[in-house]
Amino acid sequence: MGDSQYSFSLTTFSPSGKLVQIEHALTAVASGQTSLGIKAANGVVIATEKKLPSILVDETSVQKIQILTPNIGVVYSGMGPDFRVLVRKSRKQAEQYHRLYKEPIPVTQLVRETAAVMQEFTQSGGVRPFGVSLLVAGFDDKGPQLYQVDPSGSYFSWKASAMGKNVSNAKTFLEKRYTDDMELDDAVHTAILTLKEGFEGQISGKNIEIGIIGTDRKFRVLTPAEIKDFLDEVE
C-alpha cells in the first residue's frame, strides 16, 4: 500500500541508523494509559486503566479491551483511533484464516500478521507508524499465551508485561510478584494490585477494564460488578 503523491516513506533512517518516527511512536505509547498482562498456568489476564476525559462521558460506550476471535483478546496503550484500525484488520485476518483452513487461527499466527501490518506502516509511502503497543492474550492448543507488539512491528512473548505511563514501576512490581505456577485468579489479583500501584484517584470497577481467558478458551471482559468483587477481595 502507499499513497500516490507520497510514494516515498516518511519513516527514514537518521544518520545514526535510527528510525526516529518509530521512536516517536514509542513515546506516544509511553504517554498513554497504563495497561498490563499476566500469563498464568491456566489462563491469561489483561487489564488497563480506563480514565475518561470527563464524568459526562458515558463509560458504557467505551471498551478498551477488544475480542479478536472467541479465544483471543487484545488491549493497548497509546492512541485509541489507531487501535481501532488494528482491531479491524486483525479480525479480518482471523476470519480469512478460518475460511481457508476451517480452523481457529493460532495465537502466534494472528500476532505475526498484525505485527506485519504495523511494520508495513513504518515502511510504506505517505503513512506514519501506529501510535499503539498491543498486548494480545490467547489460549489455543499451545496453551495460554501473551504477546506484546510494538509500533515497529516487533513482537515478543511475555510471562507478564506492562506498557504506558507507569511501565517501569509496573514491570518492577510484576517481576517481584510473578510465579510460574500462578493460577488465573491469583493473576487477576496481581493485575489489580499492579494497576493500583500507579493509579491516580480511587480505583473502581468503572475506571479499569479486565479481560480474562481460561481453560474454557473463551475470552471475556469482566463486568464492573465482577471487577468490584475482585477489588473487595484484594482489600
Binding site: L10, P15, A28, L56, D58, S61, R84
Partner: protein
Amino acid sequence: MSRGSGGGYDRHITIFSPEGRLFQVEYAFKAVKAAGITSIGVRGKDSVCVVTQKKVPDKLLDQTSVTHLFPITKYLGLLATGTTADARTLVQQARNEAAEFRFRYGYEMPVDVLAKWIADKSQVYTQHAYMRPLGVVAMILGIDDEKGPQLFKCDPAGHFFGHKAASAGSKDQEAINILEKKMKNDPAFSFEETVQTAISALQSVLQEDFKANEIEVGVVRKENPVFRVLSTDEIDEHLTAISERD
C-alpha cells in the same frame, strides 16, 4: 545524533513529533475553536438536544442558509462545530454512508455505528500524509432501538465517545464545567428539561441572553424519533420558560 524534529515536517503533515504528538491533529482542534462558536449537547431520559450559536456575519446573508445542524437520515442528526466547508464534506459522506447502510443491511444505521464510521475516517486522515484532518467536531444524535437516546461526539483525532452531555467549540471547557455541575447526580431529564438545560448552559457560558434567531436547536425524542430542528417560535417558548424559571 538523531534527526530530532522530523526534518521540520512534523508540523506540516501527520507524522510524529519527538514527543510523540501529532501537531496537525492538534492544529485541527485549534481550527475548531477558531470558528468562534460554541455548541452543547445534552442527553435526557427519552430525548437528546443539541444547541449551537447562529452567527450570521453579514446582514446581507440569507439567514436560512447559515446552519450547522444537518439531518443525516430522517432519524439521525449531526451538529458540526468548526470549519463550515469541512463540515459540509463530512455531512455529505455521512449521508452517503448512512443511505448505503440502509440499503445494504435493511435497517437504519444506528447512532454509534455512524459515529464509529466518522471516527474511523478521521483516523485515516491522521495517519496518511495525503489528506489533512478535518477541522470539525461532530455531535451525532439519535434514538437507538435498544439503548434509547444517544449522543456521540467525534473529533479530528478519531476519538469518539458516547456522552451524557458534551460541548465543542471556542468555549467548550467552560461549557463542560457548567454541564458537569448540572449533571453530577445522573439526573433523568424530561424533554423540556433537556432542552432548557442545553440552552441555559449555553447562555451561562457566553454570558448573554439570546434571541430565538441567534441559536439553532436540534432534537430527537423517543416518542417521535425523527431528527427535528426547532422553529424560532418553539425556541422562544423555551427561552421564555428559562427566564421565568430564573
